[in-house]
């Protein structure tokens, strides 16, 4: 019996237990007696949880442990004495024997593997049976223990509530632990990188050429300044020049001027913009905007060497992409300014736009700033548009018509394709990732702090 069918079986048992316990609890209170402490369904949940949780916990632990036990018993069998001493060959033969034993492989390449099959089948049958029996025993024991506790004054409700609390706690811990794990893995690789390249050179160096690092040594090839400058130029400068005015103005229009019907159409449409995959923006940037920018640079500005990949093309498209972020945060915070403020200003004889400029926007400013910071942190983590429109050349330039590259693009560049995971090149990607993570984390903390202070001001 596989783990899956066992799981289904335990689940079915729990359902039956739920029904039975509920029925019994409903009958447990004689007519005319005082009311039971908990509703029958709480008793049902209590029994079902007692039946399922210990059994399933055991099952999940067992499914991790038992393959090792099976392998050990196979190795200690007489057929295994003929195995080669080399670890790799042994693993290969054992893997083949396992596949033969469970039927996913029909013919063997190695004679030794065929010899191991009976031992495998025997061991896995043995441990499988232990697993089934123990799981069912635990299920029945747990269920019976809980079932016998059904009494009118038994506080099943409180216990079930506590289980609910634990389930929710575990669910929230999983997200946090994942984050911690990711940061830790970045951290270890980064430390390995900094054993080869100095931190100072990485952070303050202006030359980024990891391609030549293998040939000419690590020194002088891993200066990350051009990458961070490119990131800032595209994500924090050009994109924001586009997104802040457009987002803010659309938020002001939507909250202050638009008729309810116009708003009910325009706001969802604007939010759809946030749902467009970034690759689609990438096409748009690379195929439409970038050539147009190049033509503009060549014909109008007279830069004959203008490249078809430019910071401005990527930045502008990215700005369009984050308009919804800026506008929806600004919309929320303008709408959160008490209506009394607006009335107060209008009653002074201020016009609509004076009211917006002098009262609403200043009052909503912290919320707007928070939204902009969140948008920046999103923009500097963005990859696709830049890969497609801004190029890969790590130029340190302020000319927006030149090709630049960003941190995320370089990470992609360093890690795609065949790479050995031991070179400075690959490790550099982790260091870049960590620095980027720290920057966006700080931006998010500041942004959330600002937004929180703003909320407190009006509550």
């Amino acid at each position: 019996m596989s783990a899956l069918s066992l799981f289904v079986l335990v689940f079915g048992l729990a359902t039956i237990a739920w029904i039975a316990a509920r029925f019994r609890a409903a009958r447990a209170v004689p007519l005319g007696e005082a009311r039971a402490h908990s509703l029958p369904s709480y008793h049902g949940w209590y029994v079902a949880l007692w039946l399922a949780i210990p059994a399933l916990l055991f099952l999940s632990v067992w499914s991790v442990v038992s393959p090792g036990l099976v392998e050990q018993s196979v190795l200690s069998s007489s057929a295994a004495e003929a195995l080669p001493a080399s670890q790799i060959e042994r693993e290969a033969i054992l893997g083949e024997a396992r596949a033969l034993a469970d039927g996913s492989l029909s013919a063997a390449f190695n004679e030794e593997a065929r010899g191991l099959v009976p031992a495998y089948q025997q061991a896995s049958g043995y441990y499988g049976m232990i697993g089934i029996v123990a799981t069912l025993l635990l299920a029945f024991a747990g269920g019976a223990f809980a079932f016998l506790r059904i009494r009118p004054d038994f506080r099943a409700r409180n216990r079930v509530e506590r289980v609910v609390m634990w389930v929710l706690l575990i669910a929230s811990l999983i997200a946090i632990l994942t984050t911690v794990g990711i940061v830790a893995s970045l951290l270890f690789e980064t430390i390995r990188f900094f054993e080869r390249v100095s931190v100072v050179e990485f952070i303050f160096g202006t030359q980024w050429s990891p391609q030549v690092a293998d040939a000419s040594g690590d020194e002088g090839s891993f200066g990350a300044i051009p990458l961070f400058w490119g990131t800032v130029l595209i994500g924090a400068i050009i994109a924001m020049i586009v997104a802040i005015p457009l987002g803010l103005m659309s938020a002001i229009y939507l909250t202050q001027y638009a008729a309810p019907r116009v708003r009910s159409v325009m706001k969802p449409v604007l939010e759809i913009l946030a749902g467009v995959p970034t690759v689609v923006y990438g096409y748009f940037a690379a195929l439409t905007v970038a050539p147009a920018v190049r033509d503009f640079a060549v014909t109008v500005l007279g830069i004959s060497s203008a490249s078809s990949e430019s910071a401005i093309a990527a930045g502008v498209v990215m700005g369009v992409m984050i308009i919804p972020f800026v506008s929806s945060m600004a919309d929320d915070s303008i709408a959160a300014v008490p209506g009394a403020m607006r009335d107060g200003s209008l009653a002074m004889g201020a016009t609509n736009s004076e009211t917006i400029k002098r009262v609403l926007v200043p009052a909503a400013l912290p919320g707007i700033v928070g939204g902009v910071l969140l948008a920046v942190s999103r923009a500097i983590g963005e990859t696709m548009i830049v890969v497609m429109a801004a190029g890969l050349a790590a130029n340190l330039t302020v000319n927006p018509f030149e090709s630049v590259t960003t941190v995320t693009v370089q990470i992609v560049q360093l890690l795609t394709g065949d790479q050995e995971f031991n070179s400075s090149k690959t490790l550099a990607a982790f260091a870049l990732g960590l620095v980027l993570f720290i920057i966006t984390l700080l931006l998010n903390i500041v942004a959330l702090g600002v937004v929180k202070r703003f909320r407190e001001a009006y509550e």
């Binding site: 607006r342 009335d343 009653a347 004889g349 201020a350 016009t351 002098r358 200043p362």
Partner: protein, 280 residues
């Protein structure tokens, strides 16, 4: 009072069965605002039904009545604050110094500079005390220089009885003041643009008795300089601060007369029931 009945010719005949005309007349020389046959609709629902009222400089007018009777709605008609509610529709005639304020060539911005408003909940802007008072003069360009502005701010704060309390901290945030001070700041803000009338929508309902007493005192001092209309839930307050009182019920003006008469000798049964606390 002595003015009542002097100018019968000023009155538009009202529909049959209404008794407003005689009371709604006040002396021509101090007459500031005049409302005739005003109806207000919120979408299809009628909130105000045929209200006619005169407001003069000499008399503070109080609007009383149970919640939802339309007194605030009518107050907001007097400086067209109902314009900010898209579904509201106002018909009838309201004049300020004889000008129809709902005429198509009336500039709402100008009107609101002439008729200011103080709200139920103090609503200072999240700016400094100085900037709160300077807000109106700034947007209407009333101060030619920084010195002018300082003078306007000081004068307004003095009139609102707040100067002594805040003169040393004009740069502090207006929202950091106490509730009563905030409300006086709002009054200072309203009088800084030198309006002709001030509409007060339950200005004391969020304040404690001491702050309320200060605002009431202030209303006494402002009387004669500005046409003042105050909406209140508190009948003692209406009796203390106003010379004339209008009783609203279910969107209609039931009775309008001298405050002393209305409270001691109401002509309408409904007024009597309300002021004796039988409903409302």
């Amino acid at each position: 009072m002595n003015n009542v009945g002097k100018n019968m010719n000023d009155v538009i005949p009202s529909p049959v069965g209404r008794e407003a005309p005689k009371d709604s007349v006040i002396a021509q020389e101090t007459l500031k605002m005049k409302a005739r046959n005003v109806d207000v609709f919120y979408a299809d629902k009628q909130a105000i039904d045929d209200v006619s009222i005169d407001v003069g400089l000499e008399n503070v007018v109080a609007f009383i009545g149970p919640s939802g009777c339309g007194k605030s709605t009518f107050l907001r008609c007097l400086n067209r604050m109902n314009d900010t509610i898209p579904i509201a529709k106002v018909t009838g005639e309201i004049t300020l110094d004889g000008e129809d304020i709902y005429a198509s060539d009336m500039d709402v911005v100008q009107l609101r500079a002439r008729v200011g408003m103080v709200f139920q909940k103090p609503n200072p802007f999240p700016k400094s005390i100085f900037e709160n008072v300077a807000y109106g003069p700034r947007i209407h360009g009333l101060a030619a220089s920084k010195l002018d502005m300082d003078a306007i701010v000081e004068k307004s704060l003095r009139r609102a009885g707040l100067w002594e309390e805040v003169k040393d901290r004009l740069q502090d945030s207006g929202t950091a003041l106490s509730g009563g001070q905030q409300q006086r700041l709002c009054i200072a803000r309203a009088i800084a643009v030198d309006p002709e009338g001030i509409l007060m929508d339950e200005p004391c309902s969020a304040l404690d008795p001491i702050a309320t007493a200060k605002i009431e005192e202030l209303i006494h001092e402002l009387r004669g300089r500005y046409a003042i209309v105050i909406v209140t839930h508190n009948m003692q307050q209406a009796a203390r601060v106003s010379q004339r009182t209008a009783f609203f019920h279910l969107g209609t003006l039931v009775e309008y007369g001298d405050t002393s008469d209305l409270f001691t000798n109401p002509r309408e049964e409904r007024t009597k029931d309300y002021i004796t606390g039988r409903y409302g």
